[in-house]
């Protein structure tokens, strides 16, 4: 091997040096080379910032009814001073909603709620799904059969329909909706983890641990799982988008967040009849849902590419 060749061998397909860098550093660098992933991260960063600072940047309390406080009407169109709205009128950059509240403030607070919804349902589903998938993949046999058939049953229903059924039983409400969405997303994580575990458990280092007398707990949770996490991260990021969308759908149908909670889906649902007379009331919540889902999808796609080991050896 010449000197030149050996240098080339230490670079991956995208020219990132593999010398003394961890997997995460590589992933990070690859992620930053993808424009779509960067866009996703920027949008997500802004959303996180809005969520964290909502109480300072929102001009109004999201629950405050402005009747008698300001000269505004129900479902008033946006008033932006920079765009020519008279200075003597109070500024409401996204207009007034059906209950005479500031739409912009509600939308900002909704960001917080949507991110919490996405993260909490996915965390719930990942924890349960990982445990089930790991047990199933590691032990095999009847444990595998029982767990996976139950997961198949859950997968057999369209996820939103199953979530609606669960909420109908539990009763409408945000917590119940989150629980329902969490439950219906468990199977996908369980399947991902199971397949990873099955692959990893046959590897040499696992056999070595076993030979050294490691018990099942140690092998499964300290050796196998950390090495099977990669697909879970990708699946989880994409799953947040789905969870936010599902929660919005449930709220739109009146089964999720209950009024006056400023949840985007419920804001959209309650004003759906005003699409011609007050389009700003359906446009902005819809746009917010779209941007959030888009950001998670772009980031998830980027992560998948960045974490894909095959990309390390190809030039694509």
């Amino acid at each position: 091997m010449t000197k030149k060749e050996s240098k080339a061998a230490k670079l991956d397909a995208e020219g990132i040096s593999l010398k003394s860098v961890s997997l995460w550093q590589i992933t990070w660098r690859r992620l930053f080379r993808r424009k779509s992933a960067i866009i996703g991260m920027v949008i997500l960063g802004i959303l996180v910032l809005i969520a964290l600072t909502a109480q300072w940047i929102a001009p109004y309390d999201p629950f405050q009814v402005l009747i008698g406080i300001e000269p505004v009407k129900q479902r008033q169109a946006p008033c932006i001073h920079l765009l020519g709205c008279p200075e003597d009128q109070p500024e409401h950059i996204m207009g007034i909603d059906g209950n005479v509240r500031d739409q912009f403030s509600r939308l900002l607070y909704g960001t917080r709620l949507s991110l919490v919804i996405g993260l909490s349902t996915v965390s719930f589903a990942i924890v349960i799904g990982t445990v089930l998938g790991a047990l199933s993949g590691y032990f095999g046999g009847w444990v595998d059969t029982v767990i996976m058939r139950v997961m198949d049953v859950l997968l057999a229903f369209p996820s939103l329909l199953l979530a609606i059924a669960i909420v109908t039983v539990l009763g409408p409400g945000l917590v119940n909706a989150l629980l329902a969405i969490g439950i219906v997303s468990i199977p996908s994580y369980a399947r991902v983890v199971r397949s990873s575990v099955i692959t990893v458990r046959e590897m040499d280092f696992v056999s070595a641990t076993r030979a050294m007398g490691g018990n099942s707990y140690e092998i499964l949770f300290k050796r196998i799982l950390p090495n099977a996490l990669t697909p879970l991260i990708v699946q989880g990021t994409l799953g947040i988008a789905t969870a936010i969308l599902d929660a919005a759908a449930l709220s739109f149908l009146g089964l999720g967040a209950q009024p006056p909670t400023p949840e985007w889906g419920s804001m959209l649902g309650s004003e759906r009849n005003q699409v011609f007379t007050a389009p700003h009331l359906v446009f902005y919540p819809g746009l917010a849902i779209m941007l959030t889902v888009l950001s998670f999808n772009l980031l998830g796609d980027g992560l998948r590419d960045a974490l894909d080991p095959r990309l390390a050896h190809t030039s694509g």
Partner: protein
């Protein structure tokens, strides 16, 4: 196979016809010689009679005294008799049809879509999911309809109805959306007709649950809700804040003191006096169903929730229920928090509002105090509003004092028409009679309402959209005036009561013919009421078989 049998039948029919012609007797048929004295067709009048008055209903008996006279004998005096009679579920069906369809599927198939009445229009076609087409009745006894054809269409979204009117595909539509009033008023091609608000939206409380068992809590809430703000923000033009439970257009409705003024300070003090200085937590139940009395359900609920929190520190969690479950739970007094509900007039009489809600057996608000239900029972026996006034004053004042519910608003609604429509209608009882409306000289009048009729067998129907369709086809002994609530004779020429209002003798209109060609007489009236009232009769067969209005307004016999 079917075709073969059909072919055989046709051939047999033709052969039979030929044979008959061939065998015709050659001798001339004897002529019918008219006699000087016409053969008096003997009229045998029917009677519907209850064994006694213990069954609790209104009718003791209904008798066809002669061919054109019906006598209604009542168990108790009923000042609202004619108002109730004018209600379309009590329209008259031909005896022949009632008898021939009993026990058959015809009534529950054909009868649901092609009702046989005496009205100015007849149903020509009901394209399910699309429209109902009516054609003028050529044998109508009264003035012929202005438009030869009437088409009834529907759409649940008010925005869609407005678009149809603007594009000219319909001539008028019901229930203008609250945001669309300005659009229609500004458009020279359109006109708007306001419907008087004959309904009530209220916030109910059940006094068998704490803290609503404390009258001071209920009074505090009554003072702590700014009702004017709700009407100003969420109701269309023509709506008003309710001063009493019953809309004031109805006689005796607004006797007694008006409702409490909004006073958050006094309300807070009263709530503290009742033992809840820091408020309390409860639920706010409603169904997400738009009605004339509650045009923006979710927004009003949220505003009441916000007001309760701001003015009284009462934290009410919103619980949206399925419509049927909500009605059942509220009617049986099972809701432990506030419930948002309303009522639209079936017939324009104070009993229609008060007796149903605050009668002795009503469970919706918990236990009704005798000071309320005794007065309304007494008032229901008196025909003269002036005589009944002191009694209704006492009843209304007792309601105000005990606050079983908080009357919020009488919701106005409106009907929009093209500008060239003559005699546009917006009936306070939503019983528009389109035969009287001229769609600008066009032959076809197209009207759009909020929903498809459920059925047109309206004797057993309660849905308003169905009743409107029936109004065009079916007629009762009395009817309501156009755009009003006063009654006027239709199939009767008059109904004369005795002094204590326990007997009404109705003289019927002569020369009226049903759509199926049968002639209208007193037996048709008795048979119609037998079909509706007598649960043991073989003719008491219908779509749902609940006969709700017959039961609620008159009381079923032999249940």
């Amino acid at each position: 196979m079917k075709h073969k049998i059909l072919n055989y039948l046709v051939v047999c029919f033709l052969l039979g016809g030929l044979l008959l012609t061939a065998c015709k007797p050659t001798t001339p048929e004897p002529e019918v010689i008219p006699t000087d004295v016409p053969m008096a067709e003997e009229f045998v009048g029917y009677t519907l009679a209850a064994a006694n008055c213990d069954y609790g209903g209104f009718f003791e008996s209904i008798v066809a005294t002669d061919k054109y006279t019906v006598t209604f004998n009542l168990c108790k005096s009923d000042p609202a008799f004619l108002s109730k009679m004018a209600f379309v579920p009590f329209a008259i069906y031909p005896e022949e049809w009632i008898v021939s369809t009993a026990g058959e599927e015809t009534r529950t198939s054909e009868g649901l879509e092609h009702p046989i009445g005496t009205g100015p229009y007849m149903v020509s076609e009901w394209a399910r999911g699309e429209s109902v087409t009516f054609v003028a009745n050529p044998n109508y006894w009264g003035e012929a309809p202005k438009a030869e054809t009437l088409v009834l269409r529907w759409s649940t979204e008010s925005a869609a109805r407005l678009l149809e009117l603007q594009s000219g595909t319909i001539d008028g539509y019901d229930n203008v959306g609250p945001d669309d009033f300005a659009v229609i008023t500004a458009d020279n091609n359109l006109q708007i007709t306001y419907r008087p608000a004959l309904n009530i939206f209220y916030v109910g409380m059940t006094n068998t649950y704490a803290p609503f068992d404390n009258v001071k809590v209920r009074q505090a809430i009554a003072m702590g809700i700014d009702r004017q703000r709700i009407v100003d923000t969420f109701y269309p033009e023509g709506s008003e804040v309710a001063s009493h439970f019953t809309p004031c257009a109805i006689p005796n409705a607004c006797d007694g003191e008006a409702w409490y003024e909004f006073d958050p300070v006094a309300a807070k003090a009263l709530l503290a006096e009742a033992g809840y200085p820091d408020g309390f937590e409860t639920s706010l139940y409603y169904r997400d169903v738009v009605r004339g009395y509650l045009p923006q359900v979710s927004n009003v609920a949220q505003d009441i929730q916000a007001q309760l929190l701001a003015n009284l520190n009462i934290k009410a969690e919103i619980v949206v229920m399925e419509s049927g479950a909500f009605i059942e739970a509220s009617a049986s007094g099972q809701l432990n928090g506030f419930h948002l509900l309303g009522w639209g007039a079936d017939y324009p009489h104070v009993t229609n509002f008060l007796d149903y809600h605050f009668g002795k057996d009503t469970q919706q608000f918990g236990v009704i105090d005798p000071s309320i239900h005794e007065n309304i029972t007494a008032g229901a026996q008196i025909a003269d509003p002036a005589v009944a006034a002191p009694i209704y004053t006492a009843a209304n004042n007792a309601i105000r004092e005990l606050v079983p519910m908080i009357p919020i608003a009488h919701g106005g609604s409106a009907v929009a028409y093209k500008a060239d429509v003559v005699n546009p209608q917006a009936s306070p009882l939503t019983s528009e009679l389109f035969a009287h409306t001229d769609p600008g000289g066009r032959d076809v009048f197209v009207f759009m309402q909020g929903a498809e009729p459920i059925s047109m067998f309206c004797a057993d129907e309660t849905d308003g959209e169905s009743l409107r369709a029936c109004e065009q086809v079916m007629q009762g002994l009395y009817g309501y005036e156009i755009n009003g609530t006063a009654v006027e004779p239709v199939l009767a020429t008059s109904c004369v009561p005795n002094d204590d209002l326990t007997q009404y003798v109705c003289t019927l209109r002569q020369g009226v013919v049903f759509h199926d060609g049968s002639t209208f007489d007193a037996n048709d009236v008795v048979m119609t009421f037998t079909m509706g009232l007598d649960a043991s009769s073989p003719y008491h067969v219908a779509n749902t078989n609940l006969w709700e209005y017959y039961d609620y307004l008159w009381g079923l016999m032999n249940k």
